[in-house]
């Protein structure tokens, strides 16, 4: 089974009926999302190198999978992300301060999930999948016209909780769309050490409506996600998309990928870059007005400046913040710990 593709690496549109729906607006919009996402990602990376962030996990290379999928959803649809989904988060309007806060270590979850219908990141692999299924059960009960999408990685698919979620969703035909970004690696573990049969095959075995798609082809991802979401929305039951993409950077800023993978592999994937492809198409079709690319470049530069500014501007939290929100209703015991720590800390002032 070869991944569904609409846009070849050299920027040609495949001859596929779906190609008919591709137009200039769509392409420019998706391209802009990807360019801005890559820029934020690169900027955050260098901020980590400068010591402004404790850690950063790059989305570099996976922009098409994230932008293509989330742009195919409605704003009313909910998303349960993993932790590398910055491009998707940005499409939902989540800003640089919200995105970087957790990695700077000033707070945990960075944003208000309800505001963006985009849950905070889940760092415990696959734990968000059952959440998405439960949330979808609720939507289903209400007859709400909503799709719940959840992102996860190739490695996460080995966790028991991921598989419980697949089975559960099918059993209750919950309106969930599982979106796997198969970026070929789980830190240093290649997919060959992760599973013996491709995930899309396993998912079909569970009874999920599955598609395998070229995750570096934003048009294919967008089309496949729109189709999957239609099916889920119209009550055909849950679906899974496996997007074949690549983690261009190390797993995180703490990881040195040279220890376990070759430059040749990286070079190969460079030729499949999602942004280059779409740019070629836009240029070939002359779909961009004069100045589009330069204006976009300066917009990206402004974003980069904004990222640097908000990152450095984030103040360290007050010690007292660690006591907040342990429980919705604070217990007397915790109030006591909190007060006595405040008194203790105060005893050091001058």
């Amino acid at each position: 089974m070869t991944p569904f593709q609409l846009l070849t690496p050299d920027g040609e549109l495949a001859d596929d009926p779906a190609a008919a729906t591709v137009d200039a607006d769509l392409c420019r919009g998706l391209y802009r999302d990807m360019v801005l996402a890559r820029r934020l990602d690169a900027e955050a990376y260098s901020l980590q190198r400068q010591g402004e962030l404790g850690l950063w996990l790059q989305s570099w290379g996976q922009e098409a999978s994230q932008v293509g999928s989330i742009r195919a959803l409605r704003d009313s649809d909910w998303v349960f992300p993993s932790y590398r989904d910055h491009a998707a988060a940005m499409c939902r309007g989540i800003g640089p301060e919200e995105l970087l806060a957790q990695w700077r270590g000033v707070r945990q979850g960075g944003w208000d999930p309800a505001r963006y219908r985009f849950h905070i990141y889940t760092l415990v692999l696959a734990a968000q999948l059952p959440h998405a299924v439960g949330y979808a059960m609720g939507a289903q009960l209400e007859g709400a016209d909503e799709v719940v999408m959840t992102y996860f990685g190739d490695g996460s698919s080995s966790e028991g909780e991921a598989n419980e979620a697949f089975n559960w969703a099918v059993t209750r035909s919950a309106p969930v769309l599982f979106f796997c970004q198969n970026n070929q690696w789980a830190i240093s573990t290649p997919t060959t050490a992760q599973f013996g049969a491709p995930l899309h095959q396993r998912a079909a075995g569970f009874g999920l409506a599955t598609q395998l798609v070229d995750g570096n082809d934003v048009l294919a991802v967008h089309t496949a996600t729109a189709r999957a979401a239609d099916g889920v929305r119209s009550g055909e039951g849950p679906a899974l998309i496996e997007a074949v993409t690549y983690r261009m950077a190390g797993h995180s800023t703490s990881d040195d990928p040279k220890r376990y993978r070759s430059d040749a592999e990286l070079d190969h994937w460079r030729t499949l870059d999602p942004l280059d492809r779409l740019q070629r198409l836009i240029e070939a079709r002359d779909w961009a007005p004069d100045g589009f690319f330069t204006e976009l470049e300066s917009e990206a530069a402004d974003l980069a400046a904004e990222v640097r500014r908000v990152c450095r501007a984030m103040p360290d939290p007050e010690a007292d913040a660690m006591f907040e929100h342990t429980l919705a209703l604070e217990t007397p015991a915790l109030a006591e710990e909190r007060a006595s720590y405040a008194a203790y800390a105060a005893s050091f002032v001058d």
Partner: protein, 325 residues
């Protein structure tokens, strides 16, 4: 008079009736009414959408309950037996307990997890665990242990109404024991959820206990009374948080304390209680705070449980040591 299991059934029924967001979910809770019949009749009356027979996957039960809670529901999950909560431990510790804090207070997860707990019914392995200490040591959870039909009913209603996640332990050996259950919430018998309850007042020593051991401590105090010894019995009810004021006040008065629980003593929650009392009652203590609990071994085969579980005699034996220290 209701049995403890009936009183829980009534509490669930009340919650399902009064709050459309309440759901009951777990293995076999629907059609069959649960292995202990605690959810008997609920699916018939409230439908399979609100009383759900789930697939056989504990992580899935808690994980989907979290998702439902984020959607605005109040799921009450049943874990069939204490020993089967471990597959859900990851969802409970990293997600259920921490989501409110991790989201900066933006996400609340009002999920209740009901656990038929502890031994005394001659069950096979993994069906008699007393694992409350794991959850009490997990910040972000409330932990409750009901010992009577009255508490089982009202504590559970309070747990369901609470916006925090609650691990709710039910002493399975007491499911069939009967007791009065107050009719309405402003009955003086209905205590706040965090309050410990002084079951019997006494002057010579305080027995601090919960769940399956409350009855045992009551018989101990009656037996001691016949020998002219006055033992106060306190049922903690809430294991996290612990109502330290009530405990401390009692022990400062009696000067002697014994903590009794069914879980292994080593590393058990009795250590927390004893340490706290040692710290706050230091000058009042006339003897060390002693602990009576299970031994530091896996719960034994059914025909050994009478030796394993603290009983009247073991409690009195320790009370003697405390009184004659």
């Amino acid at each position: 008079m209701l049995t403890l299991s009936q009183s829980i059934n009534r509490a669930l029924r009340h919650a399902l009736e009064s709050d459309p967001e309440v759901m009951v979910m777990g293995q076999d809770v629907g059609l069959s009414g649960g292995v202990f019949r605690v959810t008997d009749g609920l699916q018939k009356d409230f439908g399979a959408d609100r009383v759900i027979d789930t697939p056989l996957a504990e992580a899935g039960i808690v994980g989907t309950a979290i998702g439902l809670a984020m959607r605005g529901y109040r799921p009450v999950c049943e874990i069939q037996f204490d020993g089967f909560i471990y597959p859900a431990f990851n969802q409970i510790t990293s997600q259920l307990a921490k989501l409110h804090a991790r989201s900066g207070g933006r996400v609340t997860v009002p999920v209740v997890i009901r656990v038929p707990a502890s031994g005394g019914i001659g069950a096979v392995e993994h069906h008699s665990e007393s694992n409350e200490a794991y959850f009490a040591h997990t910040a972000g959870l409330r932990v409750m242990a009901a010992a009577t039909p009255q508490d089982a009913h009202w504590l559970l209603r309070q747990a369901i109404a609470c916006d925090d996640p609650v691990i709710f332990f039910e002493p399975k050996c007491r499911y069939w024991s009967k007791g009065e259950v107050a009719e309405d919430a402003d009955d003086p018998l209905v205590l706040p959820p965090d309050a410990a309850r002084t079951v019997v007042e006494g002057t010579d020593a305080t027995l601090l206990t919960w769940g399956s051991m409350v009855e045992t401590c009551l018989s101990a105090s009656s037996a001691a009374a016949e020998e002219g010894r006055s033992l106060e019995v306190i049922d903690l009810r809430s294991l996290s948080p612990i109502d330290t004021d009530t405990l401390v006040a009692s022990v400062r008065r009696t000067g002697r304390a014994v903590v009794v629980h069914e879980a292994p003593t080593f590393g058990g929650l009795g250590g927390e209680v004893a340490a706290m009392l040692g710290e706050r009652c230091f000058t009042s203590l006339e003897a060390p705070v002693m602990r009576v609990g299970g031994f530091n071994v896996p719960y034994p085969a059914a025909r050994l449980e009478e030796h394993y579980r603290p009983d009247l005699d073991r409690v009195l034996d320790t009370v003697d040591r405390v009184l004659t220290y």
